[in-house]
């Protein structure tokens, strides 16, 4: 089920009313409702893949319960590896099997051995598989690390794995954050509910109005890049930067907002990333739930930055490459990760990557300073160049696109309408910067008026057929 569908518009109020008015007296029943609703939500796309979520839930539930029962560290580790291998095998088969087969065939082909592709299978990629497998892995890893006690309550655990607001495109929740909330009785809060609604509307605006308006132009430019000059290709890349930001952060906002309606607080996923002053800051603001996941469960176990410069550099390369590969089985994503690791490395070497960890541009001023302006501009351009790898169909296309961008510059064709969307979003983001939860105080009537206008604008732009980009990951 898509957030921007009529089905969801009916589904959400029904679940909300049942949750707070029918099942509110008993926590178990409330959690059971979350579980059933989440399975309905997911099964709406393809009910056959519910078995995969269910299997993943059972395996990690049993392993989670058994890890603390083991009398030796070695046995605990063995169980943890069983969980990790199971999850990665499921992910690997559905997401990466064909990629590896095709890459081997290409490799042999390049040295003169033609192999018939009998191993390539027609595999459907289950929606959200990368998100929920990472979520369940965090559960068993945290139990192994003794950061979390396993739950015996299967319904609550299954609700954690399949929690519908963030099941298919995140934020990737940690068991340490979400599971305790599921196990505890929730109370409805007016402020939380209003914030939730604001976030849902804001997310819908970003998705329906901005991302969907930019999508046709981006698709056109990237699929026919050979026919356009460098100026148009630059615009195409910039439009994609905003399309993916609005599409993905819009989804996260709707997910966080929807969770608030049920009394849950999910982790932040985006913090105005295009106002970053360097690449380090960008990665602290972009897809935070994934980058912190890799930091906590990959980078730090590899030694992080504590085992000398060379090992740290190796670790940085690893997490960026793995992060790229997580997005999809294509060399374009791997190069995207590699590109970002190269961008990140200088600031790491010169110890500037931890700059700007808590502040945001123009924090106490009306406008950013000229220095901030230049820093944000440079970071945005670099990130936009990276998006070319991310969006291109093949790695050859991405290099051709980039070479035309830089070597065949020309005045772009008439694309004024799209620029308006970009400017409008940038301005609105700048106004609310630093407050991604939208918990600002507004007068009641102004709030009401704003919400009504937003709903009307969303309805005006509404296009039933559009999906979210991150569903494919």
């Amino acid at each position: 089920m898509l957030f921007n569908s009529i089905e969801f518009l009916l589904f959400l109020p029904i679940v909300f009313l049942l949750y707070w008015f029918v099942f509110n007296k008993n926590l178990k029943n409330q959690n059971l409702l979350i579980l059933v609703s989440s399975y309905v939500f997911y099964g709406w796309w393809d009910y056959r893949f519910l078995t995969l979520i269910f299997l993943s839930t059972i395996v990690d539930y049993i392993i989670g319960l058994n890890i603390p029962k083991q009398d030796s560290e070695k046995k605990q580790k063995l169980l943890l590896w069983c969980s990790v291998l199971f999850n990665l095998s499921v992910l690997g088969f559905f997401k990466y099997y064909n990629f590896f087969v095709d890459s081997w065939i290409d490799l042999f082909g390049s040295i003169g051995y033609e192999i018939k592709s009998i191993w390539t299978l027609n595999i459907i990629l289950p929606v959200g598989i990368s998100f929920y497998t990472f979520q369940t892995m965090s559960y068993t890893i945290d139990i192994y690390r003794k950061k979390l006690k396993p739950t015996k309550d299967f319904i609550s655990f299954a609700s954690f794995v399949s929690f519908f607001p963030q099941l298919v495109a995140g934020p990737i929740e940690r068991a340490t954050n979400l599971l305790p909330q599921i196990l505890k009785k929730r109370e409805f809060s007016y402020e939380q509910g209003v914030q939730g609604l604001r976030l849902i509307l804001w997310g819908m605006f970003k998705k329906v109005v901005v991302a969907d308006s930019l999508a046709p132009m981006v698709d056109n430019i990237f699929s026919n890049y050979q026919d356009f000059g460098g100026g148009t290709l630059w615009l195409g890349a910039i439009y994609f930067a905003f399309q993916i930001y609005c599409d993905f952060s819009g989804y996260s906002d709707i997910a966080i907002g929807t969770s608030k309606l049920f009394g849950f607080e999910l982790m932040t996923n985006f913090k105005f990333p295009y106002f970053s002053r360097n690449i380090g800051e960008f990665w602290r603001r972009w897809h935070i739930s994934l980058s912190t996941w890799f930091r906590d469960y990959l980078y730090i176990p590899l030694g992080g930055s504590k085992e000398g410069k060379w090992k740290s550099i190796r670790n940085i390369f690893i997490i960026f490459l793995v992060s790229g590969f997580w997005h999809g089985a294509n060399w374009t994503f791997i190069f995207w990760g590699l590109f970002h690791s190269i961008l990140f490395l200088p600031s790491f070497i010169f110890n500037t990557n931890r700059k700007y960890t808590s502040s945001i541009i123009a924090e106490n001023t009306f406008l950013p300073s000229p220095k901030e302006f230049v820093q944000v501009g440079i970071t945005f351009i670099l990130v936009t160049i990276g998006w070319v790898f991310f969006r291109s169909e093949t790695i050859v296309d991405s290099f051709n696109y980039l070479s035309k961008m830089f070597l065949e510059f020309g005045i772009p064709q008439n694309l004024r309408k799209e620029i308006l969307f970009v400017m409008c979003l940038t301005l609105l983001d700048f106004i609310i910067k630093g407050n991604e939860r939208m918990n600002f105080k507004k007068s009641h009537s102004l709030e009401l008026l704003g919400s009504v206008i937003l709903v009307l604008v969303i309805l005006f732009f509404y296009n039933q057929s559009s999906s979210f980009i991150y569903f494919q990951f």
Binding site: W20, F188, Y190, D227
Partner: protein, 354 residues
């Protein structure tokens, strides 16, 4: 919780109320317009594209629907032997638009669609082929409220451009160019097709060079043909003509327009596959440049001829006068004489106050 529910109720009520008000206003405006168009001659030329879409979509369904860009806008109801004709031109841009419009029209079995397909919509180098201009007025915003109106003895003029130029959509949906028919030719923007030639020389504004056909457009077109075949709707398609000298210029080896021939082949094959007739009328030898309003818009004489070529039953009594009918010419002259007279009077009274 009660406070929250009342907050949601307030938002919902305000949204529903706003939608209701907009709906009523729009309905009222549209029905007033439709009533007027049944009683008097109108020239409808509103500020907003959405008003044209709303106005045309709300028309009574007819047996023959003409669909296309401004290059099909000149087909008049009087040209057809069947009187149940409406011209839906100028509310679509892309092939997707055309498909969506035809589906929304909900045509009946046995109805006919006369479809003009702009050649450039198949050129993979032409950007705007993907810009959709046809859109349902989701929130019923009453755009026409903002348009001025003026009544003359013969016509109701709606919209600033209708009043200024005596141009706009007539009751049958066809477009009347108005003032441009009485303006001395050298004053027109594309006199001797200089503007079209410059488009060709620079390869821009719909005349982008291209050798590659955008197969996605062919696929979208195929979806439309499947829909029409399934619903037993007759389709007659064509590529609208360019003026002869424009065709000659485009055929110069300096300019790459091979996508036109390529797309013509593909589209013809596709139409035949689904049992429909398609004619590539990019080049019509019978009519010289003077039969064209500009480099790529023909006049009513050519439109009438196109119907014959397409095998559509035409009205044998149609008075095929050059460019415009004598009746329209008289109306135009009267209107601008009156308007000039009015302007002189206003100026005189303004000066006397000084």
């Amino acid at each position: 919780m009660n406070r929250f529910l009342s907050y949601i109720l307030k938002i919902l009520s305000a949204v529903l109320f706003s939608l209701g008000v907009l709906f009523l206003l729009n309905e009222h405006e549209i029905s007033k317009l439709l009533e007027s168009s049944e009683e008097v001659n109108i020239l409808f030329n509103p500020k907003h594209q959405q008003s044209i879409i709303d106005f045309k979509l709300n028309q009574k369904k007819r047996e023959i629907s003409i669909i296309g860009s401004s290059r099909t806008a000149g087909f008049e109801k009087e040209m057809f032997s069947n009187e149940s004709v409406y011209n839906y031109s100028m509310i679509v841009n892309s092939i997707t638009d055309i498909k969506n419009l035809i589906i929304d029209l909900n045509l009946s079995k046995g109805d006919t669609v006369v479809l003009g397909l702009d050649q450039w919509n198949f050129n993979s180098s032409y950007f705007s082929r993907l810009s959709n201009s046809y859109k349902i007025n989701n929130i019923n915003f009453p755009n026409t409220l903002l348009d001025d109106r003026k009544e003359t003895s013969d016509y109701l003029l709606i919209g600033g451009k209708a009043i200024e130029n005596f141009s706009g959509f007539k009751n049958d949906g066809s477009y009347f160019y108005g003032k441009r028919f009485i303006v001395p030719k050298p004053e027109l923007e594309d006199y001797l097709f200089t503007d079209t030639y410059s488009r060709i020389q620079e390869g821009n504004r719909r005349f982008e060079y291209g050798s590659k056909v955008d197969l996605k457009q062919i696929k979208t077109l195929e979806e439309l043909l499947i829909y029409l075949q399934k619903n037993k709707i007759t389709l007659v398609g064509f590529f609208p003509p360019f003026a002869p000298s424009v065709n000659n210029k485009m055929n110069n080896t300096r300019y790459e327009y091979s996508y036109i021939n390529e797309s013509s082949k593909l589209v013809t094959q596709l139409f035949h596959k689904y049992g429909f007739k398609f004619s590539d009328l990019t080049k019509i030898d019978l009519y010289e440049d003077s039969f064209y309003l500009d480099g790529f818009h023909c006049n009513r004489n050519v439109y009438y001829y196109i119907l014959k070529v397409l095998g559509i039953s035409i009205n044998p009594n149609f008075k095929n006068e050059f460019e415009i009918s004598e009746h329209d010419k008289i109306n135009l002259n009267n209107y601008f004489t009156d308007l000039d007279y009015l302007m002189v009077m206003i100026k005189q009274s303004y000066n006397s106050k000084d």
